[in-house]
């Protein structure tokens, strides 16, 4: 039998003050990110901000500088260039313009064909999003995150006790905030696919938390003589190896996606990797301490 730690007995709840401090910082960064996103100061993706994104695949290697010159000669301002990990691919993003939608992409391809005639390219993808659709997608995304959190709260409160529901929701929301905050600090694009990743992380982190709570509930019935804190500690220790093993397998697949899944899923898998690590941390260090803080000793009262 291979075991990570034989009969672990770590006082996780004793470290709750440090955990609250660390998590508080994560949460604050996340909240700042949300405020910045809402006021339009973050690096929003085309799908949220509106604009045009074109991905070109050149036959030969290409210097970003040449592309920049070509676009400037076509009268384009305010654009972002990005070289993709795959060879000879370039992503051009133009946010809000006065030009009519659809004309921007034509302008881009025309300028490049004219100025860089000796390096043929194909258009891999074009995304044009009008401000109306962008606003709607933003609202939808916010609604989705809110709905997911309410759904989680209701289910956990129904299956456990309301206090556990609050603990699980706070831990889950904390993970979403943390990953969003880190992405914001890294200057990564906030787009629909990141929101998808965040909701997946929420689901995953919740699974982790529920497994811990499940054991706490079971042990609360068995060990009525111990203090709540010690029951919680025992429970977390008991499921510790499961928590780590499952996180490892999800991490393994997320890492495979990160390295081999192609450029579109690159940021998605990065968010998943962070989310799995933070979610594991929060199910151990955040969820139970919150329940303890809120519920105190009355947890034994009910089933």
């Amino acid at each position: 039998m291979i075991e990570l730690i034989r009969n672990p007995n770590i006082n996780f709840l004793g470290k709750r003050n440090i955990a609250f401090l660390v998590s508080g910082i994560f949460a604050i960064i996340g909240i700042i990110a949300i405020v910045r996103i809402a006021t339009g100061h973050a690096n929003l993706g085309i799908d949220f901000a509106g604009g045009t994104a074109i991905q070109l695949k050149f036959e030969k290697s290409i210097a970003l500088h040449d592309v920049r010159l070509a676009l400037e000669s076509g009268g384009l301002k305010d654009f972002d260039l990005q070289e993709l990990t795959t060879e000879n691919k370039i992503l051009i993003r133009v946010k809000k313009t006065e030009q009519e939608l659809g004309l921007v992409s034509e302008n881009i391809t025309n300028s490049i064909s004219q100025k860089i005639p000796n390096n043929p390219y194909v258009v891999d993808s074009t995304t044009v999003v009008g401000p109306k659709v962008g606003g709607r997608l933003r609202a939808d995304a916010a609604k989705a995150v809110a709905m997911a959190i309410i759904g989680i709260l209701i289910y956990v409160a129904f299956r456990f006790q309301f206090k556990f529901g609050v603990g699980a929701t706070i831990a889950t929301f904390h993970d979403v905030l943390a990953v969003l905050g880190i992405f914001y600090l890294m200057g990564k694009e906030i787009n629909l696919i990141l929101i998808t990743a965040l909701l997946t992380i929420a689901g995953y982190s919740l699974t982790d938390t529920v497994v811990v709570f499940d054991r706490i509930r079971e042990n609360l019935k068995l060990k009525q003589k111990d203090s709540v804190e010690s029951v919680m500690n025992t429970s977390i220790n008991e499921v510790l190896s499961r928590t780590i093993i499952t996180s490892t397998t999800v991490l393994l697949t997320s890492i495979a996606l990160f390295f081999f899944g192609g450029e579109v899923l690159h940021d998605f898998s990065l968010a998943m990797i962070m989310g799995v690590i933070i979610g594991t941390y929060s199910s151990i260090f955040v969820a139970s301490p919150v329940v303890l803080l809120w519920g105190g000793k009355r947890l034994f009262a009910k089933k």
Binding site: M1, I2, Q55, K57, T86, L101, G102, V122, V123, D124, S125, T126, T127, V129, G130, V133, L137, D140, A141, A144, M147, A148, G151, I152, Y155, V156, L192, I193, T196, L199, T200, A202, G203, Y204, L206, T207, V210, V211, D214, R215, S241, R242, I245, T246, T249, V250, L252, T253, S254, I255, A256, L257, F259, F260, G261, G262, V264, L265, F268, M272
Partner: protein
Amino acid sequence: MKKKILWRLILIGVTLILAVVFFLPNTPLFPYMPEWWKKNMPDKGIVLGLDLQGGLHLVFEVEGNKAVEITTERIASRLRELFAKKNLTAEVIANGLTITISPSSPDIRKAVEENYPILLPVETGTSLVCKISDKEAQRIKDTTADQALETIRNRIDQFGVAEPTIHRQGENEIVIQLPGVKDPKRAIDLIGKTAQLEFKLVNDDTNVAAELPQSIAPGEEEELLKQFAGRIPEDTEILFEKRVNKETGAVRKIPLLLKKQAALTGDLLSDAKVNIDSRFSEPYVSLSFNAAGAKLFEEVTGANVKKRLAISLDNTIYSAPVIQEKIAGGNAQITGSFSMEEAKDLSIVLRAGALPAPMKMLQNVTVGPSLGRDSIEAGKIAGIIGTIAVVIFMIFYYRFSGLIADFALLFNIVLLLGAMASLNSTLTLPGIAGIILAIGMAVDSNVLMFERMRDELRAGKTPRAAVDSGYDKAFWTIFDSHVTTLITAAVLFQFGTGPIKGFAVTLSLGVMINLFTALIGTKSIFDIINSRRELKKLSI
């Protein structure tokens, strides 16, 4: 006990066979299957989303207000006729969504009320200002969107796209999905063109017309219009003809002063075809009018011999030939420096008819076929590597039991693909990510059970008892943890657009199938092993 295992094995066997049958169309084996199989067995399998097979996803907004404006204008001109007939003197001006009639009198108000009950007075004083009632305006917008949808469907049918999806969304939006389109720009032009064909007489006689420059460079149109604003007669307008010099490729715009009122419009056409000019071997579009159109065309040409008649599409002039004689028979042609493709597309939009109102593009997601192929390849590689990593890890950590979990994992993957194929669900790029993540999460149920079994073994139970109570104790934990993932998947499905819906589908199917494979699959294998002889030791 043995009977129970048998039933479970049969269940596993049947689901496995079903999964393979459903997924077969997605494998390279399908073409080699016998004819009766292809005819009677599922042949669709998993459908690739637009982001994987390449294609266009477009959202247009039908500018319903423009349609209301057009109706308002039409009513205004009918009011003028009405007042003239009734010997009422009043000036009728249509201005966007309102009509101003001045001066206003009881007779005029009564005439308007009686003949146009859909007009609501907004302001009554020295002049009467009215507009179309909100309810009627709403009805106009609604029919406009329906008509636009129908027109677009016609155009796309004639353009020839396999399996297009075209539907209305919300009040005034039209969503169009065209998989596998090779020339997206051409398709967008074809769909988005209003295609309002008008024949307008050129007003060459006035002094202002003589002052117009021969030609201007593109981009100077606005300036020219500003310069002449207020100086041209009220019933005229300036439009431009685009001319391309064939040798140099230089573009010039030729301004023409036209009568605002169209002599003929495109709705009188019965057909439009592409022909090739035999002298210059240049394509042109020949038009046939319907009976009413032919009669009107004959009248107009007869009354305006030696004058020029401009043919304009969406306010751009294609040509403005001089009428040599009265033209009977109802045929006309549009020439211009067309390429074969341009001429073909022009004939399509003319045949399918004009859009009832202009459309504005709200969203365009175009994916080239090569990107989709690259994405699928990358997804396959990531999936295989991820699976191998998990398989090895499980064997390393749980030994023989890990191997059993790995079997359950492979079973899980086959069932997931089979389930997706049986629903003909759409696989998108995020969907691929969903499958790969599901692989990582799939072993969780087994991990939960194995850890419980280890607890029981440590407590001194026999392997068989450990397996049974390990399963029992882990059951509700597994159930709860799966439901929570389903909640977020449901939310994603609810709010997500195409690609993200695909992710939600794979994730939730993965979770549900996982519950099945963990509770039925792995347990059965343990039971079979245990039923032969009581194990002394469990490799876990």
